[in-house]
Symmetry: C2
Subunit: 235 residues, 2 copies
Amino acid sequence: MASASRLAIDQWSAPQQVANGLRDLLLTGEIPPGVKLREVQLSKEVGVSRHTLRSAFRILEAEGLLQHSLNRGVIVPELSEDRIADVFKARKALEFTGVHSIDLDEAGRRVIDQMELSIDRMLSSRDDVELAAADLEYHSAVVAAVGSHMIDELYRNIQAQLRLTRAWAVRTRGDRELMAKTHEVVVRFLREGRKAEAASELMSINDVGEKRLLTAMSENRGTETNRPVAWPPDD
Amino acid sequence: MASASRLAIDQWSAPQQVANGLRDLLLTGEIPPGVKLREVQLSKEVGVSRHTLRSAFRILEAEGLLQHSLNRGVIVPELSEDRIADVFKARKALEFTGVHSIDLDEAGRRVIDQMELSIDRMLSSRDDVELAAADLEYHSAVVAAVGSHMIDELYRNIQAQLRLTRAWAVRTRGDRELMAKTHEVVVRFLREGRKAEAASELMSINDVGEKRLLTAMSENRGTETNRPVAWPPDD
DNA sequence: TCTGATGAAATGTTGAACATTTCATCCATA
DNA sequence: TATGGATGAAATGTTCAACATTTCATCAGA
């Protein structure tokens, strides 16, 4: 966006680049949960050495996007219900504290305006992907109100981990309007400075999301192979 | 504590072990901020290959205990005021949400009891190290009330990063009683279910801590060399 | 059916080599 | 004196090849 930021040259190491590429495949579901990533095979595929690939694994592991066991390699984690509960607790915790740090000063109003803008995007979204993006934008704005990079980073990781779930994409299918409406309620409360009510509303949005995700997952349960599968496939 | 947990054998990879060792040196201040860690020299010292050491670096980097620049190696980060502000914002955010998730049910009472117990430890502490440990225990208990591993982990990293500061140890010198008193106020509010007041009190404890840390740092400012120093020293 | 031996395959770790980058030093120039 | 490149040593980034150790599937035998 800003053309002057061309000065900020940041180079990417090979492991970083590989991690970026893999992250993409993971978040789009191209490499689904349960898959085992083999070093020799994959490193040949990607065109880097085994070390570089292992380095990339470490990066994604730190983000919670890969699961590593000693001598057993890495797999794409299949989120258990316990883990999902944990993730949502963390998500709610961050959003809770985010909402409560939105005051009615200038900074706070900027946050609220951004939330409103995200709601508009929800309504004008043309597919589930856009809808999910607007949703993410909204919730991220809330958390960003805390004003801490560390918090922002954790929240990004949380969101990324949720996207690993195959059911995540389907979660919000077909209720653009309802979604916008519930999210709008939070904004209205915030504009009146009623943080507690805003928070409570936001928490219930989360609870609904969690329940939907869990049911969506249990519906897909039959489709999934439970044993780790090799990647890349043999063709 | 539980003797049955001997079954849970977890093995440590070489990089993990090295990271553990280095973490210790970092948190005790034996390797102070500003120091540059050289791969060849240090790997020989530790007795592992360069690869393994680099792997260990990555682990500590993810914890915020080392700072890595491409082609420039790793250094022990010297926390800037901005960074300290960020860390404290994160810390406050987590403690805020922690306090608000302490209900007056059984789980909540357990948390409060733990906090009280930590206060006792503050009072009976014989040196600054014990005092700091009790303080950490208290605040950790608050955050643990959220019930999320991810949150707990972030909080651990936050605390670790603060300990990197040389001034951190000196921060609380000589006011055991005052410290216990202010922390006790939070507990009393919590026992009455007055979360908002408890939170506000806890936030101000944090603000005081931050201010003290900043002043302690600026007092030490003259002592420090600003340029990165090699590690290990030449002897 | 269960158990344990067996061996292939995968991961963990090392060492050496080479490419690239950084950094301090020195020198020429204004 | 200060500035601005060249220069080269040292450090990091990456690869390759090898070997140790562990896992895992298979299978023979009780």
